[in-house]
């Protein structure tokens, strides 16, 4: 860890303004990822702007909209009555991630901005275009069992590590941000994270200095038929090999709407819109799910060591849809 300046922000606008002045500044919220990265000499900020005094710590309801403050902890979000009632998918996804201790510290805004856990990104002795643009990708020809099967580029095959974000993607959340001039804007979740392309050092579409203030969710009719499924190497505290956030709006046996996002397979939570369109209007039956899942993985491009993820994703989608249809939780 290198020496840095510590600044305590007293408003979202002043925090963003401060960050706008210094491209080497980083926001500090829960610190569960950033401090690790600083200890490993991967993040080298010369200024930390501490957000923890800011007033973004509530979950509020207004009409059909539920707003998650950026500084609400993952634990409090998962256990909040409004979330459990309207978005059990989000509760399930959050609780599938990290450990209780980490979730207690980690914030909602921080969850969106956590960096990949790619082993090459984490090791400064290894090439990594995300950590050090132009140094090459260690994973593309290396140990890539955990890596992407969708949307990767030769520059980067890393995956986004979050579980929470997979659910937020399926729930069509929006991200509220404020920029260094104090101007607020809203980013649809699908546009928040990005694919690596030729600039994998950029994880998301935030402009320099922009700060997340809240995440908004619109109530839907899918709560009774949603399910988050995570397949991993051990039963807890492991990143997803593949995860699936599935939500169905059922009209009797007919699928009114389906929303499905995958985790552990791409540089961002991977929505499968084509499959969702396919499901719309069809009966919620196993054979349909099998056909839909096959469609979802059609565009997969596995790497040398992760071909199993294609088949696993297909199977996991079927299972998650079944679970969602049959009543969701568990």
């Amino acid at each position: 860890m290198r020496a840095f300046e510590y600044t305590r922000a007293d408003s979202a606008e002043s925090a963003a303004a401060e960050a706008g002045k210094n491209t080497r500044a980083r926001f500090l919220a829960g610190g569960t990822n950033l401090l690790d990265l600083m200890k490993e000499d991967i993040e080298r900020p010369d200024q930390l702007i501490d957000l923890n005094r800011l007033n973004m710590t509530e979950i509020t309801e207004s009409g059909d909209c539920i707003r998650l403050g950026a500084l609400v902890s993952n634990t409090d979000t998962a256990n909040h009555p409004l979330i459990k009632q309207h978005f059990p998918l989000l509760t399930q996804a959050i609780l599938a991630g990290a450990s209780q201790q980490i979730r207690n510290m980690a914030t909602n805004g921080g969850n969106l901005n956590q960096r990949t856990r790619c082993a090459y990104f984490y090791d400064t002795a290894m090439p990594c275009n995300k950590r050090e643009p132009g140094s090459g990708c260690g994973a593309v020809g290396g140990l890539n069992r955990m890596h992407a099967i969708f949307g990767w580029s030769p520059e980067c095959v890393a995956v986004h590590p979050s579980d929470m974000c997979v659910a937020l993607a399926a729930l069509d959340a929006t991200v509220q941000v404020v920029d260094s001039q104090g101007v607020a804007r809203e980013i649809p979740f699908a546009n928040y994270h990005r694919l690596p392309g030729d600039s994998p050092h950029k994880d998301n579409t935030l402009a320099p200095g922009e700060l997340i203030t809240s995440i908004e969710l619109t109530k839907n009719k899918m709560a009774p038929h949603s399910h988050y499924l995570k397949v991993r190497d051990r039963a807890s505290y492991a990143f997803a090999l593949v995860s699936v956030a599935a939500a169905l709006h059922l009209d009797g046996n007919k699928i009114g709407k389906a929303r499905v996002a995958l985790g552990g397979v791409a540089h961002k939570p991977w929505r499968v819109n084509q499959m969702e369109d396919f499901l719309q209007g069809k009966p919620a039956e196993d054979e349909i799910f099998v056909d839909a899942a096959a469609l979802a993985v059609k565009t997969a491009r596995p790497l040398e060591r992760n071909a199993f993820k294609v088949d696993l994703a297909r199977r996991a989608i079927v299972r998650a849809l079944q679970k969602a249809r049959d009543g969701g939780m568990v």
Binding site: M1, A3, R234, A238, F308, R315, A316, V318
Partner: protein, 732 residues
């Protein structure tokens, strides 16, 4: 059961540990301590051509930067051939230490460490063990498992004439111990003498190795290691950091502390090596084994030849007249492996017990029945009788508790919802070692006793069991006994390894107590009116603070009274216990039977161990509570080895790529469901005076095979390559 032995005792050091009062190596605060931080190589093989420390030296708080250029050479490298840091510009494994930055604070040292720049002449490393098994060379003989090639009868000939044969290959990746406590040392010199607080399973060996390397007499080195936060074998050898820490403290003339980070732990000590095995079994149609050929190879470093003794138990477990075992090595550009819980045994038994399970299906015979059919009544390799062997009873008790009779013989025949259910079993085996050990007992006139012996307590409960043994044989309440360990100013004890501590040090405690009893009796008998007149030492017993007639316990005198009558404040006994000659006439082993139930979500490739039952026969059980913990820990380790643990090396760089607790998956609580442990006590008068056998390693030996066998029973898929992660289950 005695007054204390065999009863449930909580750990005597438990409160100190959970309240933070128990100091671990890095927690010894010595005024004026400077803090070291290691800088690691970025290549696996080659030479440092330039190392630039200028920026680091100018960084705030930096005291000195040590590299191979300014580090004195350690003396007598021939005495202990392990890797020593900063002795040359040569790189022999990736993430090898190339510098240590010493600064006033840990944070300053860590910040400056980022500023050290090395340039290398890089050579291509060779770390792909499995790709090079064909090149394996014969292993050197092992002090514990003997010759690297061993034969009984004519295994090849018998194999060629067998009615049924089976052959398969099995692989195990490198695994790391990952104790919670990182390795650490704090060292300082005073008047030419070294004191070092270290994390160690073996303070005496650290002392002799440091003394030799630093060119000072052994008496001038004082090693202290009272608490160890898990070790599992990775603190048996003297790792490179105590040498470095002591050297730096001498050079800087001030105390120095050095602590590994988790990442540095992965190359800062050894690991369970990559292992490849081939098993051939020959049997009659009725199930009797007639030949076993077991070939194993493990990787080693370019610095030393580590023989993991993978085949060590193969010739001692089943009644088979023809057997051959071969141990080979492959040199790799990786650090030297080392002992990791049940070294060799768990690896070898994974292959042998998997193969036996495979044979059982070929014979259409219950796996347990096949083992009973080949039950060895005497050691098959040397014909010696077992001192005791309650394995048959373990099989029976384990099977009964588990409900083995509910097993449907055909694979894939048990199912619940999305899960296939499988039952698997295996046999566990470990030695009943005993090593020479010395203990000092000070019996005090205030009714207390202080015992010391330079053993270690890496978690099995050594402090507790020694207190229990002392209480039993000194006749003093456990609360009045203190036991000290982990200090070279205490009498010599063997390394805490091999599961031999209770047998060795415990027997020394017993022996010392017997001597004290005799001395107390002689003193008591100075009194002509003593009720103990005319009795020999075997006719009296120390109990409840009294020396009394064994048969007529009302006849006795208080221990304190005897000392006071003599005007003594205390009575001291130093006793060295050595293994008895009679041991040589027997085969001395501990055994166990393991049964597991797995639930396999075949669609998703996920395996869960839903139940495990262990029945263990390891002589007398001293403390059922900590014994249960030992065996439960063994099950957890077995689950990790079978399902999750895997040190991953990128062979292009020869670099370990998952050196963290997030990426190296030891089982978490959610991976461990129901674990039932049970003991079949053996009355063994041969092994040692206490009748105890090792249990620490035994508990895991059969588990990986039992899990693999259960996965086969559940799914009909045989996975011979650990760990059985979802991708392998899907692919099988």
């Amino acid at each position: 059961m005695g007054k204390y032995i065999g009863k449930e005792f909580s750990r005597v050091d438990g409160v100190a540990k959970v309240t933070g009062a128990a100091p671990y190596a890095a927690e010894f605060h010595v005024p004026g301590t400077a803090h070291g931080y290691l800088v690691m190589s970025r290549i696996a093989k080659g030479t440092i051509t330039k190392i630039d420390t200028a920026a680091a030296e100018k960084s705030p708080g930096v005291v000195r930067v040590f590299t191979h250029k300014n580090t004195p050479k350690f003396a007598h490298p021939e005495k202990y051939k392990s890797f020593k840091a900063l002795q040359s510009p040569e790189i022999v494994f990736n993430a090898q230490p190339i510098a240590v930055v010493v600064a006033e604070t840990f944070e300053e040292a860590r910040a400056a460490a980022n500023l050290v720049e090395a340039t290398y002449r890089r050579e291509d490393p060779s770390t792909d063990f499995f790709g090079r098994v064909e090149e394996a060379e014969q292993a050197p003989d092992s002090p514990f498992s003997g010759k690297s090639v061993q034969t009984t009868g004519d295994a090849e000939q018998a194999m060629s004439s067998a009615e049924i044969t089976f052959e398969a290959e099995y692989t195990i990746p490198a695994e790391h111990h990952n104790p919670m406590e990182p390795h650490a040392a704090v060292a300082y010199w005073k008047n030419g003498k070294l004191k070092i607080f270290d994390k160690s399973q073996d303070v005496y060996t650290v002392r002799s190795n440091l003394a030799a390397a630093l060119g000072v007499p052994e008496d001038d080195v004082h090693v202290v290691s009272p608490y160890v936060g898990g070790a599992f074998g990775c603190s048996i050898r003297t790792n490179y950091y105590p040498f470095l820490t002591a050297m730096m403290a001498r050079e800087l003339k001030r105390p120095v502390k050095l602590v590994y980070t988790r990442r540095q732990m992965f190359t800062g000590h050894g690991y369970r090596p990559f292992t490849h095995q081939k098993i051939q079994l020959g049997a009659k149609k009725t199930g009797e084994l007639i030949s076993i050929i077991h070939e194993a190879a493990n990787n080693t470093s370019t610095v030393e030849k580590w023989n993991d003794s993978t085949t060590r138990f193969t010739r001692h477990i089943y009644a088979c007249p023809n057997m051959k075992t071969i141990q080979r090595l492959v040199k790799t550009d990786l650090p030297t492996p080392c002992a990791m819980r049940a070294p060799g045994a768990v690896s070898g038994m994974f292959a042998l017990e998997s193969a036996l399970d495979e044979l059982s299906y070929k014979l259409d015979m219950d796996p347990l029945e096949l083992r009973l059919k080949n039950y060895a009544e005497v050691d098959p390799a040397n014909g010696k009788p077992y001192s005791t062997k309650a394995l048959r009873e373990c099989y029976r008790r384990g099977a009964e508790k588990f409900g083995w009779d509910k097993r449907q013989p055909i694979p894939r025949s048990m199912r619940e919802g999305n899960e296939l259910i499988g039952y698997g079993m295996s046999t566990g085996i470990w030695y009943a070692f005993q090593q020479p050990a010395t203990v000092k007992v000070v019996l005090k006139a205030d009714g207390t006793a202080q015992l010391t012996s330079a053993t270690s307590d890496i978690g099995p409960g050594t402090y507790t069991v020694m207190t229990i043994i002392a209480a039993e044989y000194l006749g003093i309440a456990p609360e009045k006994i203190s036991f000290g360990l982990g200090d070279t100013q205490m009498p010599k004890a063997p390394v805490q390894g091999g599961s031999w501590t209770t047998a060795s040090v415990g027997s020394a405690v017993h022996g010392a107590a017997m001597k004290l009893k005799s001395r107390l009796l002689s003193l008591a008998q100075k009194d002509k009116d003593s009720p103990l007149q005319g009795l020999g030492p075997d006719e009296v017993v120390l109990l409840d603070g009294r020396l009394q007639n064994r048969k007529q316990t009302s006849n006795g005198v208080s221990i304190v009274g005897i000392l006071k009558a003599e005007g003594m404040d205390s009575m001291t006994e130093v006793h060295k216990e050595t293994p008895s000659k009679i041991r040589e006439d027997y085969q001395l082993l501990a055994h166990g039977a393991q049964f597991v139930e797995v639930r396999v979500d075949e669609q998703l490739g996920m395996v869960r161990v839903s139940r495990a039952v262990e029945a263990t026969a390891c002589g007398k059980i001293m403390n059922p509570k900590t014994s249960h913990s030992q065996e439960m820990g063994g099950v957890v380790w077995g689950i990790g080895m079978a399902l999750t643990e895997h040190t991953e090396v990128d062979d292009r760089f020869g670099r370990i790529m998952n050196p963290s607790l997030a990426d190296y998956h030891v089982p978490c609580c959610a991976d461990v469901r129901k674990v039932d442990t049970d003991f079949i006590e053996e009355d063994d008068r041969v092994v040692n005076p206490l009748g105890v056998k090792g249990m620490g390693e035994l508990g895991m030996v059969g588990i990986p095979a039992a899990i693999s066998n259960a996965v086969y029973h559940a799914t009909g898929k045989r996975i011979r390559h650990l760990p059985m992660t979802p991708d392998k289950v899907l692919k099988a």
